[in-house]
Symmetry: C2
Subunit: 422 residues, 2 copies
């Protein structure tokens, strides 16, 4: 699928009509509790976010496959089951995952209750998500205290504050939005995402929220989401650790008043293309901002017999710690790429494989038919010193292609994670 087909617009999760957002600093992490009643509205330390729709939204979600599931995952699932896939709001906090706590579900329900009360909604219309340290009791008081301010801040211009509120070790907020046409109507779709460690999505990814004003049934939303997750977030790996709190939530307000998409067809294809553009670009941002990353790595596997093979091979390379270290060192150690292709659990002839490396400085071929070819180490170094590197693999075994995104493994990854909790 083409990555940048539609015009991009501003607005993040508020780009689509009918959505508002907010983000505030509640002081969820003990050591950061604000003095007295002072709660700064805008701060890079935002830790409580809200997405709100003026209308009932058809809503699709995918969740982590980790057996350990954050309490918010359990509550969100439960609420969507009760409402038959409808929601009005998502409340989300960072600094604490509310996972592996005996009172986790109770606290997650409480977050929904508090927001529902403040906004005049039913609890079941509220979804909830959390990210942060696993296994620490979630303090509900700072959240309770901050909710009025959160509600008051709700505004279409507050999307960036919401995007900031879900950041953990991210170095920049991640938003993306596009505009596209369906049934003669101009629709919008936008999203926000958080990184930046414990990222190796499996049927879902870290927290991602996408909103659209395009009218589409919950069933078709879910179908589009599952399909596009597979070739975007699920093709991303920062460190091979699948989070306990992964969740992608896609909400449609239907405000756009196009003829509702109820089945496959041209409109559905357009919708998926827009969704791909939003999700692929957010995925790319997540990879670029991977914990400690100095380089964005994009591995494109083409010539595969089928999509699954292409995905498995591209991800295998992106996940290899040795390859990631070589990229950190700008070392064209292509043997590590071949090694990672070789242990990918897929069926193809390794003796046909070709590999090139490229960046804005050019391209070099390093391997043909599974064996090395002579190349200029000097040219390779020049290419690999750039901060966006492409690894192009051709299996010469078919027509399928997939892209996987990742980043290099650096001293800073070790530094960040050697002392995360404190």
């Amino acid at each position: 699928m083409e990555m940048n087909l539609f015009e991009t617009i501003e607005g993040g999760v508020c780009a689509a009509a009918g959505f508002r957002a907010a983000g505030v600093y509640a002081g969820i992490k003990k050591s950061e509790k604000p003095e007295g009643n002072e709660i700064p509205v805008s701060s890079h330390k935002n830790d409580l976010g809200l997405i709100y729709s003026d209308h009932d939204c058809n809503t699709a979600c995918v969740y982590t496959q980790n057996k350990v599931k954050g309490a918010p995952i359990i509550v969100t699932k439960r609420h969507l089951e009760k409402t038959g896939g409808k929601a009005r709001a998502v409340i989300v906090n960072s600094k604490n995952a509310n996972t592996c706590n005996a009172d986790g579900v109770e606290k997650a329900e409480k977050m929904c209750d508090l927001l529902a009360d403040a906004m005049g909604l039913e609890s079941e219309q509220v979804l909830v998500a959390s990210t942060g340290v696993i296994g620490q009791i979630l303090p509900i008081e700072p959240i309770e205290k901050a909710i009025p301010q959160l509600a008051m801040s709700l505004c279409v211009s507050q999307h960036l504050e919401a995007a900031k509120a879900i950041m953990t070790t991210d170095t920049f907020p991640k938003e993306y939005a596009v505009t596209f046409e369906i049934d003669g109507k101009t629709c919008c779709m936008g999203g926000m995402a958080k990184g930046s460690g414990m990222i190796h999505p499996n049927m879902a990814t870290t927290l991602n929220f996408i909103t659209t004003d395009c009218s589409i049934t919950t069933e078709m939303l879910q179908k589009a989401l599952s399909e596009i997750v597979k070739i975007t977030y699920n093709c991303l790996s920062i460190d091979g650790d699948t989070s306990t709190n992964d969740m992608v939530c896609l909400m449609s307000s239907g405000v756009c008043e196009n003829k509702e998409i109820t089945e496959e067809g041209e409109d559905f294809e357009t919708f998926k293309k827009a969704l791909y553009q939003v999700m692929a670009n957010l995925t790319r941002m997540l990879a670029k901002d991977g914990e400690g990353a100095s380089k964005l790595l994009t591995c494109i596997c083409s010539g595969a017999p089928d999509l699954d093979t292409a995905i498995i091979v591209a991800k295998s390379v992106i996940c290899s710690p040795l390859f990631k270290c070589a990229m950190f060192g700008s070392d064209a150690n292509w043997g590590r790429i071949l090694c990672a292709i070789g242990y990918a659990e897929a069926d193809f002839d390794i003796n046909k494989v070709g590999v090139t490396l490229s960046s804005s400085k050019g391209e070099i071929e390093v391997c043909r038919n599974g064996s090395g070819v002579d190349f200029s180490e000097e040219k390779a170094k020049e290419i690999l010193l750039e901060d966006e590197i492409y690894i192009n693999i051709d299996l010469h075994a078919g027509e399928a292609q997939a892209t996987a995104w990742g980043c290099d493994l650096t001293y800073d990854y070790v530094k960040i994670n050697g002392d995360y909790r404190s």
Copy 2:
């Protein structure tokens, strides 16, 4: 299985009767070519090793499952097929993996030919192994030049030189040997192994050579090897990268003259226990010397419904980069352990899982029934500052148990691998 049942002895791969070994510096890496004809016999830079048996040996091997296979793997397999599982010698080099080279198989055959000529053997009686950088042409000249000296150095006391010859980024040579009794005869078994990166064995591991004088058929040797590899080397992970050159080779000279082991029974059980002790201790050394490692991590999963589940869970924790970083930082971030248990592909109830952490400084419980329990952070820090840490997981779902070995993820891992080739 008990790890230290039998008496340990000196002698490494020469502990068993009938085996001799040697290791020399041939200058296989271009930049290290010695001046003129000077070849130092003993050096930490040894790069060419030899194991030689005075008698025909029954020989079992397991190999990497990586699709990219080093040329020596192909040649060793071919030779053992030709001889029906008999061998007299193994020649092995470091500094170059002889993998992904168009002339790789030819060069590996040439190494066997050269050694066979020098020792008066058939080429097929010689096995070959290589380790080092992938995808660089193997220079045969330095090997050819060094073989006479290698042959002359053959001696039962040269086991350490051989162990040094297979080192890559290892910081110490790895040898282990035991003595045990079978059929009233005192048998010996010893081995050597190399680390220390690209280690995530799959049906085999990095280079390991084990010799015994116990009389046993090739078939039973293979059976014992496959069984014990599963619970030793295959339970080791340094970095999740499965090498292209993995090989474990187990040779029996039969010099001990016990009644040959031809079937299952008490003697075979004793043999397997000795093999476990040698292989588990070598595995432990490999983990301890993992690239950049500052801590040896041993994860014991008990209370599992079956052995496979125990292995999968223990390995999942040992492989988690986030957990490995937390151990580097001596941070009792047990949520990352639960997360890794949660994404292990096995079937059990996460809400029954208990976890304790221990070292020579004591033990603390950090998780019970899948949720956190209060513990002293001070005590936890004291325990985790040690350089050997045990992670004890109880699934409370059965009687099976397995151990996995690994190490922490440190700045030095990134440093070593950011610039390996140069």
